[in-house]
Amino acid sequence: MEEASPMKRPMLRMALGLLCAGVLCGLPAARAADTGAAPVRADSKQRQWRLHDFTRIELVPREPGAPDNLQPVQLQAEALRQQLALLQYSGRSGSQALFASDELAELVGPLAQALERAGPADDVLLLSTARREGGLLAPPTAITARLFVQRDGLELIVHDARFEFYEAYRGAQIQPHFVFGSRAAAGPASIAVSGTPGRRADWVSIALPSAAAAAAAAAPATMPSKPLPTDNAQGSDDIERRLETLKRLREKGLITEDEYQQKRRDILQRL
């Protein structure tokens, strides 16, 4: 990726600096004044890839208390696509592919770029919205997930596998509030790789292509500054939260009574 040419016209720079002084450009006013508004090269510090109104990939500071991630890693987009295509989620109609094929084809390039750009202190947030079922007239649903690289591979924590927000947004301009997966608390999603459950219902480790895996394994691992809660350690709080979420889904009519009872049994078995 080429870097943008710095502006070479002092007058133009000064004019833009004045235009952008203060809050207009989101830069501290003092900095704009002190430096003559020296431009920040966004392309060298790109932290967001926007693909559609509700599809974007973003680098954010990793969650507090989490160990250093093993990024950056270089991944081939096609290899990443093949791995992500194996992901499945448990939905109303049973187990289904998490990503649509055309959705994935579009995501993997920017996702590979993000993982190459990310540092050990970054997590990658993924928001992907697509019309996955029912064609053009079906309301789009969103996947919200957090990704990072650790020794086991690419870690993927999905909060929502099919977040339904679009109709309320279109009908009443209700702005969606997206919540991404978290190491600390399990979300409502249930995902697996080729039918094999992950370390948590919403969390799977995806094997990296060999070159990337070797690089990740060679990287020094850092222990977390404080231990993160594990699946077992979360105990009743986590289960209570998931039961409440499940109950809410049933009350909203988003899942059937049978689905509610089946999922409830699954959750209670974890006690």
Binding site: M1, E2, A4, L16, G17, C20, V23, L24, C25, G26, L27, A37, P39, V40, R41, A42, D43, S44, K45, Q46, Q48, W49, R50, L51, H52, D53, R56, D102, E103, A105, E106, P110, A130, G134, L136, L137, A138, P139, E167, A168, R170, G171, A172, Q173, I174, H177, R248, E251, K252, G253
Partner: protein, 411 residues
């Protein structure tokens, strides 16, 4: 217009081709409502509304027009800049007959975020819908800064977002502006929009300021009139109801509108308007709906020969899903307007609509609905509407019933 009309089918074909070949590459969104209806023998279909009210009308089973809008957008990130270009065309007909409809490009703009001089700011230029927030059952946007303009938004204030925009209009209108250069009443508008101000858990405040300036000589007032508006909007998520609440307190004077757009072009600055709107939406199990209450007042406008008036509107629409795909929908609304020196105009309207839908939710679309609408109003409402009376049928009646079928979809 001929050119545009002929362009629409081509644009649709292009859209279909793009969407078919690159499902994720081009975004295609839209809205339409259409369907037949009737009121009585030997007359056109009637709809029921008090004229000149800013608060809209109760729309279920009460739309005599048909309308559709179809948008294409391309979004992508290049060299760190996230670009989006969007066009949207529409089709409108005041009745349901063929012919006499109009098409136009409602939106045509480009925006970008991630520029090196201001990475966090979104810049845009063009013709667009902007900052909209509505009450669906009234078909009214209570904030609507649409127009031809340029601006910057998503500016992080640390706990809030700032947007600033400038709009210019050849005919002092913000929406459907022909922009043909023939008008002699152009106007300028400047909006400041501060949003996402966190006030309380689940609640956010939005403050929208509007300044308008007529750039022309008004024959009556002597010059283009100026205006000012301020809108406060508070939105509140209510998880227990599966919905939320929106409250507006709005003020405008002169040529500014309450919704943040241009108002009446030549209204003197002494003409003041104020409006309070409360709207609640919910979805609890199979029971969903939206309710609204509105009170407003507008001063006497000498130049446009309108008396001071007060308005009131209260009503709601509720749906109950009997199955996943079948719901019963009803809407009840009451409106009144009291001009100084005249009797109070009153209208009550009720609609029952068995509806087929993609899902059980209130907002679930598409919907295929049959409806029966009945309305009652008073003589003052007929008188205020002119010779044709409130329905335009000119039969002197103060009640009526309409029926029909309508499809509505947004996607």
């Amino acid at each position: 217009m001929k050119t545009i009309r002929s362009a629409v089918p081509h644009a649709l074909a292009l859209a279909a081709a793009l969407v078919a070949s690159q499902a994720q590459a081009v975004d295609f969104d839209g809205y339409l409502r259409t369907g037949p209806g009737a009121t009585s023998k030997d007359s056109a279909r009637a709809c029921y509304n008090l004229g000149s009210l800013g608060g809209g009308h109760y729309r279920l089973g009460n739309e005599c027009d048909f309308y559709g809008e179809f948008g294409l957008a391309q979004t992508g990130t290049t060299e760190g800049v996230a670009w989006k270009a969007k066009v949207m065309f529409n089709e409108y007909n005041g009745g349901t007959d063929v012919g006499g409809s109009s098409s136009s490009f409602e939106q045509m703009y480009v925006e970008g975020k991630g520029f090196d001089i201001a990475p966090g700011t979104n810049f845009w230029i063009g013709k667009r819908f902007y900052g909209r927030k509505d009450v669906h059952i009234l078909d009214t946007f209570f904030v609507r800064m649409d127009g031809v303009g340029a601006g910057a938004d998503q500016i992080d204030l640390g706990g809030a977002k700032l947007g600033v925009a400038y709009f210019s209009s050849d005919s002092f209108k913000g929406f459907g502006d022909p922009g043909n250069g023939a008008s002699k009443s152009p106007g300028n508008r400047f909006n400041v929009d501060v949003s996402e101000i966190g006030l309380n858990p689940g609640g956010a405040l939005r403050v929208t300021g509007t300044v308008t300036q007529g750039n022309y000589d008004n024959v009556t007032a002597g010059k283009g009139t100026s205006g000012f508006g301020l809108s406060l909007q508070h939105t509140q998520d209510i998880a227990s109801l599966g919905g939320g609440n929106t409250l507006w307190l709005q003020y405008a004077q002169g040529s500014a509108g309450l919704d943040g757009n241009f108002g009446t072009a030549n209204a003197e600055s002494s003409v003041k308007k104020v409006r309070l709107v409360e709207s609640l939406a919910w979805q609890v199990g199979e029971f969903g709906g939206q309710a609204v209450a509105l009170i407003g007042q507008q001063d006497k406008d000498d130049i446009n020969a309108t008396a001071k008036f007060k308005e009131l509107s209260i009503g709601g629409r509720a749906s109950y899903a009997l199955t996943k795909n079948f719901k019963l929908v009803g809407e009840l609304g009451y409106m009144q307007k009291k001009p100084d020196g005249s009797d109070t105009q009153k209208l009550t309207k009720f609609t029952f609509a068995p509806t087929l839908s993609a899902g059980p939710g209130f907002w679930s679309r598409p919907e295929l609905r049959l409806y029966v609408t009945t309305a009652k109003w008073n003589e003052a409402a007929n008188t205020a509407s002119g010779l044709g009376g409130l329905t335009g049928l000119g039969n002197g009646k103060t009640s009526g019933t309409s029926y029909g079928a309508q499809a509505e979809i947004w996607f």
